[in-house]
Amino acid sequence: MVESIRSLQIRHVLNQIISLGMIVTSALIIWKGLMCVTGSESPVVVVLSGSMEPGFKRGDILFLHMSKDPIRAGEIVVFNVDGREIPIVHRVIKVHERQDTGRLMFSLKNDLRDNNFGDDRLLYAHGQLWLQRHHIMGRAVGFLPYVGWVTIIMTEKPIIKYLLIGALGLLVITSKE
């Protein structure tokens, strides 16, 4: 009698562990699949600063896509500066494409402020004057307003992240279905 109950419980627990594993793995599959389809390292980014207002406000989510088409002036791109991990969303204002190698050099600018320099070179690494194609993560093709605030809050106040994960874990364990 006792053994049958114990074996039922073990089965139940194993079931839950496996379904949890399935959820996590399918999320990972979707993320990696998005990375392949869009051709960008990070297909979804959160806008962190208000530099592109009134278009994109802090807390918006941007969907990126990177295609082989050459990048031209006027496009909104997300790029990484050498040595920094935080992606920046700005607009391309200058493009120079060399004859022989086809190498492109860009200069970008935020939409909001008209600074005297006319571009955002101050943000680049020391000594870096231009951006090249390998710095660009992707072009912005779609956006969702306000949803990114969840990520911003979780990054700035990690306590909330732990609370959420703890609560979710509790829910999974105590649910009977």
Partner: protein, 200 residues
């Protein structure tokens, strides 16, 4: 069966589904819109400035001879203006140039339900011996709504006309014929059409 959680779940699912359907309809209906924007750029004047020793900018006396508009009664052809600009800054490094332009446009046909804003810019597109394509932005502006879509602006260029280093050097001077053929000021409105309806 009819617990609070169950009902909340059902309501939220229905709301999100309806929202998603509405947003995809709005973005699909964008394909039916055929935009017909019109725009015109007139270059009125080329201003030459020279830096004085104390750092002040001095308008060169002979820049008044280039008030083409006053002399000839019609604005300069944009590509001729660019040619003057590039050629004279090549020969005089310490001379700075700015263009005075008239920009008029009617972009109201670009605004649909799916349009968030229209970003408008004037870029100079040209070819040099070193670079197959150069695009340098001279002026840009944001049009937030259809009310502001028809506009007329008299302004100087917002951004300086600078080419990459290595173009203006004595070993590789710009080829005149290539400049003339490759220069044109292209007015490209680009509208941001977004996947999800904004403001619904």
């Amino acid at each position: 069966m009819h617990s609070f959680g169950y009902r909340a779940n059902a309501v939220v699912t229905l709301a999100v589904t309806i929202l998603a359907v509405m947003c995809s309809m709005a973005s699909l209906s964008d394909n039916f819109n055929v935009p017909s924007p019109t725009a015109e750029v007139k270059v009125l004047n080329i201003n030459w400035f020279q830096k004085q020793a104390n750092g002040n900018d001095e308008v060169m006396p002979w820049s008044s001879s280039f008030t083409y508009f006053k002399h000839f009664g019609h604005p300069i052809q944009p590509f001729v203006a660019m040619l003057y600009v590039l050629r004279y800054t090549f020969y005089n490094r310490h001379v700075k140039v700015s263009l005075t332009v008239n920009i008029s446009a009617d972009l109201s046909s670009l605004f649909t339900w799916n349009t968030k804003q229209v970003f408008v810019f004037v870029a100079a597109e040209y070819e040099t011996p070193q670079n197959a394509l150069n695009q340098v932005s001279l002026w840009d502006g944001i049009i937030p709504s259809k009310d502001h879509a028809k506009f007329w602006i008299h302004t100087t260029n917002k951004y300086r006309l600078i080419d990459t280093p290595g173009f203006f050097n004595t070993q590789n001077p710009p080829k005149k014929s290539k400049l003339l053929n490759g220069l044109n000021i292209r007015f490209t409105p680009s509208s941001i059409s977004l996947l999800f309806l904004h403001g619904c």
